[in-house]
């Protein structure tokens, strides 16, 4: 990502819109007893297209805004989403995934990591009440729903980030086929 005010403002606006949309609208749309959660999707998408450091920063500030807006334990969401952003960013830097369907497994893995890690942090901090197995069902449904909306969500995020990205994400360019005509010395070589 190109460092500068343009990148910061662009990502900050995306975080604000995603958090407000999540807590004011999406959380009340229940499908099969669960809800989609676009906050880990945003962090994963930014990390996938921009790398580990922007991913971690996006995770931290998304979690911070989420906790500030909801009055929940300040720092808990930041901690988890920072790790999610960094993890997805490192995956991109090490593997450089180019398959068109990459957003689906990335979204599912990022959401699963987020809900599990958030549950673990909540347990460590304060949970003292009995826990229903329905929580597991709700987590699974959130992962499934996020995987379902991953393709359009990542496409929108990519489009919004494109002007500030150093490297244009997308499928690798296909190699030219070997030539079979021309000077004998060049035949069979990739040119």
């Amino acid at each position: 990502m190109i460092p500068g005010p343009s990148s910061v403002i662009r990502v900050a606006l995306m975080i604000l819109v995603a958090v407000v949309f999540q807590i004011a609208c999406l959380v009340q749309i229940r499908v099969l007893g669960g809800t989609a959660d676009i906050t880990p999707l945003l962090v994963a998408a930014v990390a996938l297209y921009a790398g580990s450091v922007p991913g971690a920063a996006t995770g931290f500030f998304t979690g911070l805004l989420l906790d500030l807006a909801l009055g929940t334990n300040l720092g808990a969401s930041s901690l988890v989403l920072t790790a999610v952003g960094y993890g997805v960013g490192r995956y991109r830097e090490q593997r450089d995934p180019s398959h068109g369907l990459t957003p689906i497994p990335v979204a599912a893995a990022a959401t699963a990591a987020y809900v599990l890690a958030y549950a673990a942090v909540s347990f460590m901090l304060s949970i003292d009440a009995p826990v229903s197995l329905l929580v597991v069902r709700e987590m699974l449904i959130t992962v499934l729903l996020n995987a379902l909306i991953a393709m359009p969500f990542f496409a929108i995020t990519r489009r919004l980030l494109r002007p500030v990205l150093l490297v244009e994400p997308g499928p690798r360019a296909r190699r030219d086929s070997t030539i079979s005509s021309g000077p004998i010395g060049l035949r069979g070589l990739e040119v």
Binding site: G75, A83, L125, A129
Partner: protein, 298 residues
């Protein structure tokens, strides 16, 4: 060059993790009037108009999608439900929205007419503008705050799915124009309660992740508790430990009594009257009120 990049990356991760842990530590260490809590209240105040606007703007979309979800669920149920879904199809999403809001408000208005409900509570009706997305912390935000006379620890009631309604939670944080309500399904919630009419007293605690099933704990074995009986807030009169809730607010209905031989107490399952999954409006009771009927406590 490579080492520099790696060092920079690791430093960034360390800084963000350290900041998060620092925030958590300070937040848990300070009182409710501390700096971070004040910043949080300020942020809530600033975000409230945006949240309210978004909540209103997307309400038709939410209702349409929820309606579609209801149709999907109904396919696996019996013919009666299918007929109801077919009937629902004929209604416009807009009229359904208006109807649902009107029903909730009507239930809330009618709630104080319950024979046990404490009188003189002066309820303030508020719109729900945001809610927590996780099951671990159940809280909502409402569009009224200290400017409307709302303070911390005030009880909050909500309408039920089939009319009526009951206790929804308590106000835990207030700013000028908004307030945060911690629901009775939050893991930190504990409400002193009584089973009507015999008066067996216990503590209502949530089952995290299942808002339709709560536990009434600490009912001694041998105390008769039957299903379908009503559970209300018991309130306490002690000067030292006065309950946050006035006596007589309906909480829920007993659905199952589980008396295991080895346990000292019975585990009584109750279903809350308030529809905590789909709340558009709630009422904050700004005065303690006067209890209407006495309960026979053996």
């Amino acid at each position: 060059m490579y080492d520099k990049t790696v060092r920079r990356r690791r430093a960034a991760l360390l800084i963000f993790v350290a900041l998060s842990i620092g925030l958590l530590t300070v937040y848990f260490g300070e009182s409710a009037s501390g700096g971070l809590h004040a910043i949080q209240r300020g942020a809530q105040e600033a975000l409230a108009p945006i949240e309210e606007g978004a909540s209103r703007a997307f309400k038709p979309v939410r209702d349409a999608i929820n309606w579609a979800g209801d149709v999907f669920d109904a396919k696996s149920e019996n013919k009666k439900l299918k007929d109801e879904v077919a009937q629902l199809r004929e209604d416009l999403a807009e009229s359904q929205t208006a109807q649902r809001e009107a029903e909730q408000l009507r239930s809330l208005v009618g709630l104080p007419k319950d024979e046990l409900f404490p009188q003189g509570t002066e309820p303030i009706t508020a719109r729900v503008i945001a809610r927590s997305p996780t099951s671990w912390q159940s809280s909502i935000q409402i569009d009224k705050g200290s400017g409307a006379g709302i303070h911390e620890d005030m009880p909050v009631v909500a309408a039920g799915g089939d009319g009526g309604g009951g206790l929804a939670g308590t106000v835990t944080s207030v700013s000028g124009g908004t307030a945060t309500v911690t629901l009775i399904t939050d893991e930190s919630s504990a409400v002193s309660a009584q089973v009507m009419p015999d008066g067996a007293a216990g503590i209502v605690r949530p089952t995290v992740g299942d808002p339709s099933d709560m536990l009434l704990d600490f009912i001694e074995k041998g105390r008769p508790v039957s299903t379908d009986t009503t559970v209300i807030t018991s309130g306490t009169r002690s000067d030292r430990f006065e309950s946050l809730f006035p006596r007589g607010i309906p909480i829920g209905q007993v659905t199952e009594v589980d008396a295991e031989e080895r346990e000292l107490y019975q585990r009584v399952h109750i279903e809350p009257f308030a529809d905590l999954k789909r709340m558009d409006f709630v009422q904050v009771l700004t005065r303690r009120g006067v209890e209407q009927a006495q309960v026979l406590v053996p």
